[in-house]
């Protein structure tokens, strides 16, 4: 069992799940997952492919809703609010919970329009205000210096690493509290990967970051806490240091020592 005592006493539990089961049609993908994810920390989800870590991540901004035939049991609370309550507004939720995808997916629009997309759909029309948000977001994602002179050029002209940082800027522009990252560096070269990792390090104090990764070194480098999933179950959740030095479970040990997966 996971004990909440693994966090320091003053930690806010921003995301809380209670006995979450998740189904794709008749197939159960997640089994009875209960965990607390601390605020303003980096939490990494690791595990072999198909273990359910991405599915679990996509529960937090209800992206699984877009797949037909999915069903969730249990409770998912963000800041104490049950996000799967009927009355909860998905649009509102996704404003608070940003997401960065595995495959960088900038829109085939200009760099400026990409970052301004979120604020615009949320009703900001003032040009100066938009320009301010775009600049701030690009600065936060460490892309500003590289693109400030070509904001009007098509985003698809950027390199893979730049595109991914643009996607991060785009997510930040909406002003989220939580940032979900689904293997954000898995399609990038090593140098770009390090830049993304540095960026996550810079963002950790202001955002609650949950990152799915299949790269254990990455999890060890950037996260404060690590959760290990196997076959749809949460096997172990602990401080990253402990997971990688003294795992409690045999399965965790086998995985991080490379015996399977």
């Amino acid at each position: 069992m996971v004990e909440t005592s693994l966090f320091p006493a003053d930690t806010d539990h921003v995301i809380t799940t209670r006995q979450v089961n998740f189904f794709y049609g008749a197939v159960q993908a997640l089994f009875d997952i209960t965990m607390d994810i601390p605020g303003r920390r980096v939490t990494a989800f690791i595990g072999p492919s198909g273990c359910g870590k991405s599915t679990f991540l996509r529960i937090f901004n209800r992206m699984n809703d877009t797949i037909a035939g999915t069903r969730l049991e249990g409770e998912v609370l963000i800041n104490g609010e049950d996000i799967y309550q009927k009355s909860n507004n998905v649009v509102h939720l996704r404003r608070k919970v940003g997401m960065v995808f595995q495959k960088s997916n900038p829109f085939p629009k200009s760099i400026f329009d990409n970052v301004a997309y979120g604020p615009r759909i949320h009703g900001i029309k003032d040009k100066q205000q938009l320009a301010g948000i775009v600049e701030q977001s690009l600065m936060r994602s460490a892309l500003w210096d590289e693109v400030k002179d070509r904001l009007e050029t098509n985003a698809l002209g950027l390199s893979g690493g730049q595109q991914q940082r643009l996607c991060i800027a785009r997510a930040l522009a909406v002003g989220p509290e939580i940032l979900l990252m689904d293997e954000p560096a898995s399609a990038l070269d090593p140098k770009s990967t390090i830049r993304i990792e540095d960026l996550i390090g810079e963002l950790r104090n202001d955002y609650t970051i949950v990152i799915v990764t299949h790269n254990m070194q990455q999890a060890a480098r950037i996260s404060d806490y690590t959760a290990f999933f196997y076959e749809g179950r949460l096997v172990e959740f602990n401080a990253t240091k402990k997971i990688f030095t003294k795992p409690r479970e045999k399965q965790t040990e086998d995985y991080i020592t490379g015996r399977f997966g």
Binding site: R94, P108, G118, A171
Partner: protein, 282 residues
Amino acid sequence: MSTGKEQVIYWLIRMVMYAIVMVIGYIIFDIVWHGLPALSWDFISQYPRKGGAEGGILPAIVGTLSLLVGTIAVSLPLGICSAIYLSEYAEQSRFTAMIRLAIITLAGVPSIVYGLFGLGFFVLLLNFGTSILAGCLTLACMILPTIIVSSEEALRAVPSGYRDASLALGATKWETIRTNVLPYSLSGIITGSILGIGRAAGETAPILLTVAAFYLPRLPNSIFDQVMALPYHLYILATQHPEADKVLPLQYATALVLLLLVLGLSLGAIFIRIHFRKKYRW
């Protein structure tokens, strides 16, 4: 390496292919060759005289164009919305399966049956009379499946990552479709629609019973008027005219104008496809 015998077979297949190409080429050549001498500005811009034996084909051109505009106005919104439903909203359900079956069925209905339906439903039951309105609605029914199928294909070609990213930023489903799916598929939708409209421009059977006038040397005033139309005019000149031989140059010129209109639409569609393919690459 192929043997000599295989080479012979290859050449036979090649000959079949190029025989088809040559026949197509010859048809177009024949129409252009005989039609061009009779084609003039007067022919396009004047009213017919003496039952079509002299003068131009202005009312037929205007009639066909107004039919096309009306047909597009009805079928395009309906077709695009149907395609959006099928590509963006539809789940695997009986309802969706029924819609797909219906579209396949509509695509196979013979054009003369559309004509019969248009006559029974639009002309008689809804009492639109033999009119532009009835003709446009009938043609719109006919090209609806073409527009739906090509639009759906264009919408599905948009990578799902754009939809996910937009939704994850808090856009609603409709905002996502409007800002991040439709704009990128527009060229495909337009291309498919133009091809559909090209088909409508050349069809005679559906308008035969719903709108076309035998000889009406004036322009329409309202959507409840009858009009002349290019394909029907050609049919009349070629088969029903008392002095069919005398008006032969006019027949060829009419055929040429119709052919140019339809081929122009097709070429336009191909041009748009090439132009936009450069703009959005993913």
